[in-house]
Symmetry: C2
Subunit: 380 residues, 2 copies
Amino acid sequence: MSIDAPIVVEVGLGDRTYDILIGSGLLARAGAEIARRLPGTRAAVVTDANVAAAHLAALQASLETGGIQTAVITLPPGEKTKSFARLEEVVDGVLAAKLERGDIVIAFGGGVIGDLAGFAAGIVRRGMNFVQIPTSLLAQVDSSVGGKTGINSPRGKNLVGVFHQPKLVLADTGVLDTLPIREFRAGYAELAKYGLIDRPEIFAWLEKNWVQVFAGGPERAQAIAEACRAKADVVARDEFETGDRALLNLGHTFGHALEAATQYDGSRLVHGEGVAIGMALAYRFSSRLNLASPDDAARVESHLRAVGLPWRIADIPGELPDAEALLAFIAQDKKVSRGALTFILTRGIGQAFIAKDVPASEVLSFLTENHPDQQKMRPR
Amino acid sequence: MSIDAPIVVEVGLGDRTYDILIGSGLLARAGAEIARRLPGTRAAVVTDANVAAAHLAALQASLETGGIQTAVITLPPGEKTKSFARLEEVVDGVLAAKLERGDIVIAFGGGVIGDLAGFAAGIVRRGMNFVQIPTSLLAQVDSSVGGKTGINSPRGKNLVGVFHQPKLVLADTGVLDTLPIREFRAGYAELAKYGLIDRPEIFAWLEKNWVQVFAGGPERAQAIAEACRAKADVVARDEFETGDRALLNLGHTFGHALEAATQYDGSRLVHGEGVAIGMALAYRFSSRLNLASPDDAARVESHLRAVGLPWRIADIPGELPDAEALLAFIAQDKKVSRGALTFILTRGIGQAFIAKDVPASEVLSFLTENHPDQQKMRPR
């Protein structure tokens, strides 16, 4: 456990401003940090069975030290947990614990737990206090910043939810050492994303320092803090995603389509991997449209490959639907505004922008060229 | 159908400011009014079977004239519809209609439909446009102003929901002519409430003009507009109920306890009737605590009696639990803050205030004195 002071990133949202603390050993300080900011409160800890097995005892001991009484709601791990039925279960658990508006729902887990518990916190008594203790890299750099919460619908992912900002986020970077490497890598894709959106210096830094980020040195906390800062800046400009915030979807339109095309089968493709391929495709597509240099696309592909992430459609194991079917998944994606195709494209490393009215025909040609079926047919 | 211009009440909430239009014949203008404010949108109309039978054809014709394509989601009438299962049904119906964030959910019905449809509008795609067309007096003066939405939990009423403001409210006062008189009266209790909270002149005006309000003359629209203005003022001061907005709960703490004590059996007590008795009790309790004059309590009781509303616990048909049990229902009510009993009490007509830390023993003595069992035992 580190005795270093954590890095503090402030997310500036007026009267909803909150701190993200980032560092090793934060779990042990959770009780004190929460009690200091929300004195005299009780809490419902929402977690999944995996995280509970590894870390719940440590968190509970820490909360007890802070004098915070807790009820625990443990759910099965996995994306299927983001459902109406589980939402109702969490809501009922929070009400059963007789928590009031000033009490706290603590999300203790990865993105699924954060999204679900945050949604519950946003709707019980029309909004309770919410604290995030993200335990995956993806959740630490992405889902814990910005207040988006939600569940999936049979009609699509994240189609139901609210904006509900946490009062505090505690990102214990030491907890990440227990993550499977594939999950860490998937989170790294979202971390690199911030460099690719509008922080070229972050991307260049990661190209040099990614090994230390994976190894868990102080570079890990530094990288996570930079990503949180980058996201916080975007969110502060556009909390409710009426404009700029859509930039955070870099890689997500292609990525979501690929996730849908693999029936969200995590053994073939997890979200961060879809985003990795999606970002590489967004850069390659931008290059094809003569918006960005092919060198920038190659640089993105090269870094993703270096850290062990998939970067092209062909890296997905198993059969895939054809390009037309992939386009249909894109058109169904929720980031379709009034019928037109909207993509996050780029003019270079760290120069992403929102492109509306992208012609479906261009997307189809690009997907056809980059589809593994097509590539198999090419002369070698 | 009136050709008078509707009364317009603006609810001032910064960038969430919206208009309430109040008048007879508004249903026929709905399409034009909505299309003017939200051009090029599609809509899901959420309604109940009773309202649909009486008025849906008229609304659909009007929306068609305005060029607004609609999907219709019809639910069973009644409080039971405010459930997780029905919420999921509405959310799925809105998504099935492929509506986007800029499209509209229209609540067409009473308070149940408004609360449920508003909640769905608040969570589909993390918030869609929302329009209210309230068809009951209660909904026109209460649920359509202020952005509270929600459903019930087995653990209590309205425990789950969000704040989600409409873009427009259309209160057609002519539609109220098809309401059963008992339901109109119940809504009238909430109307009178605004006078009792902080507008003594409204209460005095109602004492003189209530017959015309019931009959449906221009006084009806005028009274509804005054109530909406009064509520809008309170909501503008405290949108998220961290302070003053609690004043709107005048009569609701006793009222909710009585509703719970009658198992929400509408044949014995509907919500507005509970509020009527609750307001009379709040005035009488304030008088008992030497806060208000007994004359004011008598004046409130006398007006409620005049319009045909119940005003004392003994007016509820059937057996009731004893005073201790009623107190237990009050303590379970969500308006309990950190264990203390909070009541809306008053110093006179239009002088309500929030009283925290009201001793449970005082409430118990008061309930005992005013319980029909006790009164039966008194010498006559």
